[in-house]
C-alpha cells in the first residue's frame, strides 16, 4: 500500500490480485449473497484506491481492508434489510448447488445431497448469529485470522474476541446439533 502511495501503480494491482478473492469471500459469507459480494468488494477496493493519498499505516493493510469490507457490508445490509438473505443457492467448493435437488439414488448423489443439506444448515446457522459473533466466526474459521487480527479488524480487545468466539461456538453447536452426526 505504501508503494502504491508513492506512485507505484503495479503495487495496487498486486493488492487487488491478492486480497480481492479473500475480501469477496468474507463479504459473501457476511451477506450470503454471491452477486452482492463482488459488487461490495469492488466498492471496498474503490475506497482503498481513493483513500491512498491519505493512508497512514496505523494497522496492517489486511485488517484495514477487512474493516472497510465489514463497514460496507453493514451499510448494505441495513439498506437491504427487507431482502431475504437466504434466497441464493448455496455453493459448495465453488460449484453452485441448486435448491431443487432431484431424488437420485446413487451413493455419490446421496452424499452430495447430504453435503448440500449440511452446507445449507451451516449457512443458516452462521447467518443467524448476532453480527459481531458472525464477523468473529467468519474471520477465524474461513479467513484464518489470529485473535489479535480479529481484535484489530473489529476494533475490540482480544479478551472480547475470545468471549465472542466462545458465545458464537456455543450458538453454532446449538443450531447444528440436529444435523450433526456424532
Amino acid at each position: 500500500m505504501l508503494d502504491f502511495q508513492k506512485g507505484n501503480a503495479s503495487s495496487f494491482e498486486a493488492l487487488l490480485k491478492k486480497y480481492f478473492p479473500l475480501v469477496q469471500n468474507f463479504i459473501y459469507r457476511y451477506t450470503a449473497n454471491r452477486s452482492l459480494a463482488e459488487d461490495l468488494t469492488q466498492e471496498a477496493f474503490l475506497r482503498v484506491y481513493k483513500s491512498a493519498p491519505t493512508y497512514r499505516p496505523k494497522a496492517l493493510f489486511k485488517t484495514w481492508i477487512y474493516t472497510i469490507a465489514r463497514n460496507i457490508s453493514i451499510n448494505e445490509m441495513k439498506r437491504k434489510r427487507e431482502v431475504s438473505l437466504l434466497d441464493e443457492p448455496v455453493t459448495f467448493e465453488g460449484e453452485k448447488i441448486q435448491r431443487q435437488i432431484e431424488d437420485k439414488k446413487t451413493e455419490m448423489q446421496d452424499e452430495s445431497l447430504m453435503r448440500h443439506e449440511t452446507a445449507e444448515a451451516v449457512k443458516k446457522a452462521v447467518m443467524e448469529l448476532p453480527e459481531r459473533q458472525r464477523v468473529a466466526i467468519i474471520l477465524r474459521r474461513y479467513e484464518d485470522f489470529s485473535y489479535g487480527d480479529i481484535a484489530k479488524t473489529m476494533r475490540i480487545s482480544e479478551k472480547a474476541v475470545k468471549s465472542l468466539l466462545n458465545r458464537a461456538r456455543e450458538n453454532l453447536r446449538d443450531k447444528l446439533l440436529d444435523v450433526m452426526e456424532m
Binding site: G94, I137, L176
Partner: protein, 153 residues
C-alpha cells in the same frame, strides 16, 4: 475446576490458545468428566461442519471490471452537480416557476387587501374635526407632497 469454567475454555482449546498450565487443567478435567467430553466433541464437530459452506471464486475478468468501474465512477463533484441538475432540470423547473409565480401573486393580493383594510379603518375612525380638515385639504395641490416629493417652486 468446575464444568462451567471448563466449558468457557472450549473455544480457546479448539483454537490452541490455552497456556500450558490451562491446557493441563483442561485435559485433566476432560479425561474425568464424560459430560464435558461430550460437549467438547459437539463443539469440535460443529466447528468442522463449517467447512461444508464453501467459498466462491471471483468471476473471470473481475480485475478489468474493477478498473472500468474506477474510471466510470462519477467523482464527488460530479455527483454533487448531478444532484443539483436533478433538481433544476426542465420538467421540474416548470413546477418551481409556477409555484413561485403563484406565491408572488398571493402575497401581492394579500398586501393589497391589507392596505385597503387599513385605509378603510383609518377613515372610519376619523372624528368630525379630522373630516373637516380632510375636506379643506386640496389633495390635487398637495399630490407631490403626498407622494413624498416636494413640488419644485
Amino acid at each position: 475446576m468446575d464444568c462451567k469454567r471448563i466449558k468457557k475454555m472450549f473455544s480457546s482449546y479448539i483454537d490452541k490458545e490455552l497456556t500450558k498450565h490451562e491446557e493441563d487443567i483442561f485435559n485433566r478435567h476432560i479425561s474425568s468428566c464424560q459430560e464435558c467430553r461430550k460437549s467438547l466433541r459437539e463443539y469440535e464437530k460443529s466447528w468442522e461442519m463449517l467447512s461444508a459452506w464453501g467459498g466462491i471464486s471471483p468471476s473471470p475478468g473481475y480485475e478489468s471490471r474493477f478498473w472500468t468501474r474506477l474510471t466510470t465512477e462519477p467523482k464527488l463533484r460530479e455527483k454533487f452537480y448531478g444532484k443539483v441538475m436533478d433538481i433544476i432540470r426542465p420538467k421540474r423547473l416548470v413546477y418551481v416557476f409556477t409555484t413561485a409565480l403563484l406565491l408572488f401573486l398571493l402575497i401581492n393580493a394579500g398586501m393589497y387587501k391589507y392596505n385597503e383594510l387599513q385605509a378603510r379603518n383609518m377613515l372610519i375612525n376619523l372624528d368630525e374635526e379630522e373630516w373637516g380638515m380632510l375636506e379643506d385639504y386640496d389633495l390635487l395641490a398637495h399630490l407631490d407632497t403626498l407622494n413624498g416629493t416636494e413640488k419644485i417652486q
